[in-house]
């Protein structure tokens, strides 16, 4: 029987495999990095299946169980992006994200029993949140490039790097927003209700969509484009946590 008592071994194994995958990725050993990233995913998946059998239900109810899925999907998204785009830094990046959630489950065992409220018990919850977090991290990188370019001066190489990050990040952001709308229909009755969190998610998405269109249409100077990326990232922060500071958030359906 596999339960939370055994997670330390699975977590440690997954973390070590993720670390090796990251090092191999930096050393341009593509095949080895893919194998070790797959091992990390395999270890986490084995634990999820084992826990599922032990609990006799899908492990999606407690905070600890959702953190488990975050660590799993962070690696899956990272590996998919690495396989498609071959960025050396993407696997270390997703490994850090995954390890943070593994450590949270090891160091804070109380979250294993922290129950989720009924509204959050949906198959959409985990992909919706994980995809958003992954897109936030990619778009965070595009923000850093924009900031660097604005201070040090931009060149086309930097802008192309920002473009790829924005395209991949926006693809995940789109899926996050739309999966949220399908879930909202199931839970609250409407695909879109102009809840403060939804509104800021839409503003963020429009910011990146505007950037993509300006680049495709070859409009806007590099400095303006960098400022737009910074602005879009500020909107993303508003959507993530800043929205809670607004008076309008009092009645938000996203405050639990």
């Amino acid at each position: 029987m596999i339960g939370w008592n055994e997670f330390i071994w699975f977590g440690a194994g997954a973390t070590v495999a993720a670390l090796v995958a990251s090092v191999m990725s930096f050393c341009s050993r593509r095949k080895a990095s893919v194998i070790f990233a797959s091992v990390t995913i395999g270890i986490l998946l084995a634990f999820i299946i084992g826990l599922w059998i032990t609990l006799d239900r899908p492990p999606m109810r407690t905070t600890g169980e959702t953190r488990l899925w975050y660590s799993f999907f962070a690696m899956v998204s990272g590996l998919a992006t690495y396989l498609r785009w071959g960025y050396k830094w993407i696997l270390p990046f997703s490994s850090v994200l995954s390890t943070v959630f593994i450590l949270l489950n090891i160091l804070k065992p109380e979250i294993h029993d922290q129950t989720l409220m009924p509204a959050l018990q949906s198959p959409w919850f985990i992909p919706h949140v994980t995809v958003y977090m992954f897109s936030y991290s990619l778009l965070g990188c595009s923000f850093l490039i924009a900031l660097y370019s604005l201070i040090k001066g931009s060149d086309e190489k930097m802008m192309k790097a920002a473009d790829t990050l924005v395209y991949i990040g926006t693809a995940f952001l789109t899926f996050g927003m739309l999966s949220g709308s399908i879930w909202a229909k199931q839970a609250w009755g409407h695909y879109w209700a102009w809840d403060p969190k939804e509104t800021w998610a839409l503003i963020t998405w429009l910011g990146y969509i505007l950037y993509i269109h300006l680049r495709i249409l070859k409009k806007g100077q590099a400095n303006i484009l960098c400022i737009l990326l910074i602005f879009a990232f500020v909107c993303l922060q508003m959507c993530w946590w800043g929205v809670n500071l607004l008076p309008a958030a009092e009645n938000s359906m996203h405050i639990y």
Binding site: T115, P118, Y167, A171, F175, K185, Q186, H213, L217, L246
Partner: protein, 238 residues
């Protein structure tokens, strides 16, 4: 406003939507501005600006203002004109990803915009053992449902620590028994869903949502998700 919405309800909204599509199809070549980069950028900026206003002020009623309606109509018109101009390449090849992104968004926005006069949202309070057809619209107007609903029982499953795990309302409509839970509404007829939105020891609050255009919205959303997958695979070169 309610009266205007009644006038614009089906089939008027469907006729207006068809008329709008027909006008765009016939005139987009004449008004080339509507498919130009300037129109694309200005429509995104105007819509984004409106959303920022709603986000900062929390004034959701702004979505019913004339200004917002014009912005939405402008955005959708630009989307349609851009789609008409760019759905195939010069050599006649279909641009699948372009169609998925733009048509998906257009269908999702269009179904929300043109379909809104047909939407109905009502709530009803039911006590255990009670049968009723009286519901209240979100604007406070009383209404009578076409069927009577009875609440047979309300059950709360709890975790070991006592916190609620799931609420289940067992109701009867038309002599048929159904269970409703949060995240598991009851679908009835075209576009109608019944949601469990509140519970007490011996009562529940049900929300009856009627959105006949929801299927179009879902098609638009699925097209956009497919577009996002292609965006991920193709990247900036697409």
């Amino acid at each position: 406003m309610d009266r205007l919405f009644d006038i614009l309800a089906f089939p008027t909204n469907l006729l207006l939507a068809a008329l709008w599509v027909a006008i765009c199809c016939m005139t987009w070549k004449r008004f080339r501005f509507l498919a130009s980069p300037a129109a694309v950028i200005s429509s995104i900026l105007l819509f984004m600006g409106s959303c920022i206003w709603i986000g900062v002020s929390g004034n959701v009623a702004f979505t019913g203002s004339v200004f917002f309606i014009i912005v939405m109509l402008y955005l959708m018109t630009v989307l349609l004109c851009v789609l008409l101009r760019g759905w195939k390449t010069a050599s006649g090849k279909l641009r699948y990803h372009f169609i998925l992104h733009h048509a998906g968004l257009l269908i999702a926005l269009g179904s929300a915009f043109w379909g809104s006069p047909d939407n109905r949202q009502m709530r009803m309070l039911l006590h255990e053992g009670e049968t009723s057809s009286a519901a209240v619209h979100m604007n406070g107007k009383q209404s009578t449902l076409k069927d009577e609903i009875s609440l047979i029982s309300i059950e709360c499953k709890r975790y070991e620590n006592g916190t609620p795990m799931q609420y289940t309302a067992t109701i009867s409509i038309d002599e048929q028994t159904h269970s409703i839970q949060v995240n598991h509404p009851l679908s009835r007829g075209i576009g109608e869903d019944i949601y469990l939105v509140g519970t007490g020891d011996d009562y529940c609050i049900l929300e009856i949502v009627n959105e006949p255009w929801k299927y179009f919205a879902l098609v638009g959303i699925i097209m956009m998700i497919a577009g996002a997958v292609i965006l991920f695979i193709k990247g900036p070169r697409s």
